[in-house]
Symmetry: C2
Subunit: 208 residues, 2 copies
Amino acid sequence: MPETIKDVVPQIAVGRLPLYLRALRRIQQQGCDVIASHELGKHLGIGSAQIRKDLSYFGGFGKQGTGYSVAILIEQLSAVLAVDQTWSVAVIGAGNIGTAISKYEGFTQRGFHICWVFDSHPDVIGTRMGDIVVQSTEVLERTLCRHKIQIVMIAVPAGEAQQIADRVIACGVCAILNYAPIHLHVPDYVKVQYIDPIVHLQSMTYYL
Amino acid sequence: MPETIKDVVPQIAVGRLPLYLRALRRIQQQGCDVIASHELGKHLGIGSAQIRKDLSYFGGFGKQGTGYSVAILIEQLSAVLAVDQTWSVAVIGAGNIGTAISKYEGFTQRGFHICWVFDSHPDVIGTRMGDIVVQSTEVLERTLCRHKIQIVMIAVPAGEAQQIADRVIACGVCAILNYAPIHLHVPDYVKVQYIDPIVHLQSMTYYL
DNA sequence: AACTGTGAAGTTTTTCACAGCC
DNA sequence: GGCTGTGAAAAACTTCACAGTT
């Protein structure tokens, strides 16, 4: 099997790129054109060597003696992360969490457009979340397949999450952001990220 | 300086304990009394050696030949993570995210009780989120100090987050769950965890 | 027979430190 | 002088493999 760049870049480094991008956008808004790795590091609480190494996996974006052009770095990182385009995303589950996600405006500016919201509860189906009308999970497969959706966010109760995951994966979804408090079993090629605020809180209470 | 157990346990291992606890609760609900590390590993997508090593930092909870008693392990992990008590938590920011957090019922069962919600916007102050009345950020300091709050969740816009962090830390807060898309600069003794769904999404699009 | 707890080996990730460039 | 890009060293983390226990 040919070894591509994707196999060689540590996943943990990839995970930091969005943080760099986020910081750079802010820095750019503050009118800064050029930034050195140690300055960027200060913004992020990360060492400068780490930043240089992470960026060097993707090519020499910097200028010695000067630093990195903020605009170029934003452009390059956006391309690397494939967020120089807009991804259509579906949300499954229109409870508290699903509703908050669907109403949150921040996604669009950063490369994601929430196009569909699904729920199985008759009371919720047909209601509006912003511009979007909540659809029945009965039409989940039809919609996902027709529009070739690759990314979904799961915001259903723990007991239903695995089954929803199986269904969306069968439709070609290969990236899942899971808010349900449970580990999902998926094929290797499917990426999953987890958000559970209580897990975050509990890993802090240990130190209190 | 004396080297305590807290200095010796890898932070990354501590971060996994809440996942173990979460899985164990589910396993217990399904009526299972005893579980082996490799079974627990299957539930979590983690190797059995990892689990045994993580648990062994805190003492021998298991029985050779048998596995771990689910009830005992839950009890022990809850104690280690200090979630065998209920923590009072304040939420700052009553926008979309703050509202979703405040309404989410899942916190209470897992050791956290949201007691206060603050916002600076006059339209929101005085409205109810479940049982809680949104208070003005003007009384933030008074409330936090009086009740000796140690944990807050920050759900304000990026531009206000650092200033809110500074204020709550001055009141004795030492654990922050930050939903604002920005790194917070805090003293060493303060723990911060970050949740930004877009960061999670962007680290998956790299692979698509 | 089955499983834990754990040193030791192996792997990954971070940090150092410096040559090379602006 | 200041900064990047990068091998090499150090540290952190994971996996192996097996002695010891039930």
